[in-house]
Point group: C2
Chain length 543, copies 2
């Protein structure tokens, strides 16, 4: 018999609406139309204006024939059109593919083809890159190019003869009556993983997940209304960890930034009263290591989020000296960017910096609206003991996990095997439930049958005062199978020897974990600041 | 052809989870097990303990035979078991019916019967009330009574021979593996409207809506982690506006309170560092009008939420003098409590108190996660002009609207006619989109063919310095059809005449809106502090 609570109580238009971050900008534009939404060079754009422009973009795209589930690719830095694309593209029912502008033309061509883009919007800085990519496409499907002008950059060195972005907007209706997604499971974005080998995979985001992560960002950070957010993190990286939607939800300010360098960042913070920003460790390290004179007059209490690697003690200390408050988060493209946070406890403030850094170096616990994150034995799918020792794989489940990989059911099935998303990161879980990464599955070093966590060795290297960046990879070894090989980038003016480094490591590590070789020099990094270990592995194998 | 974005990308256990506020307490207990969750008299209970007790409650209820969609009614004041019931009952798959403890035995009996309660949990203060209600039930279905002990209250004057609450918990498993709702549309709570005539209607809440409103509470208030929330608002009123779930989400503190009086409230604020509380206007008015000596040593910046009637200028001023920050919200039982907020703007702070009060007296805009709120012409279902003049009916749509009325498809269909929830409140919409109630449909006074907003007249009455509370209703009139009749409750020691009151009104109102009669005395109020106009209407008709 049907329960009384399930009888004649169906969903209807009054009591059920699809969950989507698109509602965030609509509400903010209604309630705070005059508040500042975007700062870029001399440009000041309110939420009323921004919402109108997003509707024009959506309307203009529809007039170009773009509709439900069509892909609109963009090759844009952190500029106003990039913010607008995060709303205007899905308001047209379409899917936003924000491409990494630092990739090579082959990779761009691959994404345009694989994602079946109908339109591509390009910044003047990247018309050359796009031109090359267009010659490399395999597909002959029509692709409409839309070219942005940006006074901050100046004219493009090369025009592609595409449609002008402002003309596209002018063709659209500022009152366009966009429809929320028919189903909150509809795709909102497509983000290609920066795969280190093989073709990148297309990670599909849905509206429900994007909204869940955007709201979680507020909850993790206690982010208040009208926060001023500085765009140090590329919006092409997991849709800027969903922060374009979060900033709209908070009726905050998007402070755009074409280039991330210490002077630009500090100037923006002082000039616009920035309260929040995100970035890879390299961004925060760059700020910490900037000349003291550059840091004069910074406001207190700026909140920073770091992901990509655990913040070493020196970074935490340096951030504290600047008066910044650092939150360590963790996730993957497949989890809409960070979906775990090293939630801090009040009593940690009493601990010495070493202990604070140890605690903060952990990847922590699930985001507020994520279902679960756990370290499971990938064979048995059972949780590992919470002993801080037993390794397993970090797995997520809940509403902050991708829809799947585009046109790749095999990879999708593997990623979701057993009802959990498999991160590929090896970790332990502490008695307090906090997770700590020991390594990427593929980064573990197996020496004489012993597992060596490359991250553990790197953490020790980072503690050396002369070390700016460090990475440890496996070097093939006839006797041991593999041995750790350290690549070290020193701070400006520092001078140490390989012996100094190994002696430093010996104080903190068991003998079998010590690097057998130390190579000095600048480390190869991805566009998002991740160190490219596959390059280092090649170097280690060759050396 | 199926789109590439809809092919092989289904929901699965890894990327889709039902939305429910039950996950909030699970995460908080995992991340902050040692933090304080509940204060009650000498009791201090952590989140770890509270979560364990909720699981015991759920497990114990299941052992009593309670399962999916069974109703568990409670007759509890704002005590720890009431907090626990908000989690333990739905963790058992059951539906919580928090009954208004101020109702008469007939109404309690009606709810127990209509809601088909299987279990009723009762506080020692209300065993007598329940005993009478049990004799009045029509249904002969078995009903398990569970009796709470409370050291703060003392022994019950009458025992019903029911099961002891602690024994029920002791029968349950603190590690109980509760299941989230199979569908987020499943019922979580049943709340009877305090209908002024006829039988109350049973409003059914679902998990999705409860979570949406609980999260919105955080967003409206910028409520930080570890907020200290004082329970001045009864949890039996729209599940305390969903704040039991909000406080869990924020890992905050529930400061319980059996009785709301100024001394108890101020003591609790000082002793426990209360940061947030909610209440009807009468609660805030009581605090504002308390002796100054009682207010010594209050912390600054306590945030208060008011709903039920617009806060008059004198209340806003009084709150400001205490250093409290008042947010005006609006909603109905059917919208999980408040689902609209008079969102304040920074520049309002520059205005004089009269203008601030006028702006803050508006019901405002939709909650962050509510889909829409608008003033529509109920005939055409078209929006009224945003001119601050044209009246229509306030209507809501979105995820913060009830599942419907229990066993009442006719009322459900009427309430949701045309794809909007009809509030029954008549209002105008201002050019800035803010809504202002002019009256309940049934409270409008029609005099000589002119509509008179009872609220407009009441607002003027509240501006008189001697007036503590006021209500205006229609009095039948042979010549005019109806005329306004004012009921006025004066502040202690105040002395004014009916002529004084009418003279005051004449300064602010058109002649036809002036009360023709003024009656002094205490106003009849519902348990939630709402003035009972139907009683006043009877008095007006008889006088």
């Amino acid at each position: 018999m049907t329960s009384i609570f399930d009888s004649n109580l169906p969903r209807n238009a009054a009591n059920f609406a699809s969950i989507s971050p698109l509602g965030f900008i609509a509400r903010t534009a209604e309630v705070y139309p005059q508040r500042l939404a975007i700062v870029h060079g001399d440009l000041r754009q309110t939420w009323g204006q921004t919402y109108a422009r997003c509707r024009q973009l959506a309307s203009g795209l529809q007039r170009l024939g773009v509709g439900k589930n069509d892909t609109v690719a963009v090759l844009l830095p952190n500029t106003p059109p990039m913010v607008e694309a995060h709303f205007g593209v899905p308001m047209a029912g379409a899917v936003l593919n924000a491409m990494n502008t630092r990739l090579d033309p082959q990779a761009i061509a691959y994404m345009l083809d694989h994602g079946e883009a109908r339109v591509v919007i390009v910044d003047p800085e990247f018309t050359g890159l796009l031109a090359k990519a267009l010659t490399l496409r395999q597909s002959s499907a029509p692709l409409q190019v839309v070219e942005v002008q940006d006074a901050v950059y100046g004219p493009a060195s090369q025009s592609l003869g595409g449609m002008d972005y402002e003309a596209l907007l002018a063709s659209g209706d500022a009152q366009f009556d966009w429809a929320p997604p028919a189903d909150e499971w509809d795709a909102i974005a497509l983000n290609y993983t920066s795969g280190t080998t093989g073709n990148p995979k297309g990670v599909v985001y849905h509206h429900r997940g994007a909204a869940s992560n955007a709201i979680s960002n507020v909850l993790e950070w206690d982010m208040p209304k009208h926060a001023v957010y500085l765009w140090t993190l590329p919006m092409f990286h997991c849709n800027g960890w969903c922060f374009p939607w979060t900033v709209a939800l908070r009726a905050g300010v998007n402070v755009c930034l074409r280039r991330v360098d210490p002077q630009s960042v500090f100037d923006a913070i002082r000039q616009h009263g920035v309260t929040h920003y995100c970035g890879a460790p390299i961004v925060h390290g760059m700020l910490v290591n900037a000349p003291e004179a550059m840091k004069q007059g910074l406001p207190a209490g700026v909140k920073a989020m770091v992901a990509g690697a655990a913040p070493p003690a020196s970074m935490i200390e340096g951030m504290e000296r600047m008066g910044f408050d650092l939150t360590h988060v963790y996730g993957l493209t497949e989890t809409y960017g960070p979906a775990a946070v090293c939630a801090q406890h009040d009593d940690w403030a009493q601990l010495d910096i070493g202990e604070r850094a140890r605690l903060n170096a952990r990847q922590g616990v699930r985001f507020h609206l994520q279902g679960d994150v756990r370290v499971l034995d990938p064979e048995t799918m059972q949780p590992v003991p919470q002993d801080g020792e037993t390794m397993g794989e970090i797995m997520f489940k809940g509403n902050i996990a991708m829809k799947g990989y585009l046109k790749n059911p095999k990879a999708t099935d593997e990623a979701f095997a057993g009802g959990w998303f498999h991160s590929g990161d090896l970790a332990v879980q502490y008695p307090d439930g906090y997770i700590k990464i020991k390594d990427r599955s593929k980064d573990i070093i197996i020496s004489g049958g012993e597992n060596i966590s490359s991250i553990e060795v790197e953490d020790v290297l980072y503690r050396h005062p002369a070390v700016l960046a460090a990475a440890v990879v496996a070097k093939p070894d006839a006797k041991w199978g593999e041995t750790p090989c350290a690549f070290v980038e020193l701070k400006d003016g520092a001078s140490v020897t390989a012996e100094d480094i190994i002696a430093h490591c010996r104080q903190h590590l068991a003998g079998f974990k010590l690097p057998r070789a130390v190579v000095f020099g600048e480390l190869p990094k991805t566009s998002t600041g991740k160190i490219q270990k596959f390059e280092l592995r090649k170097l280690a194998a060759e050396s």
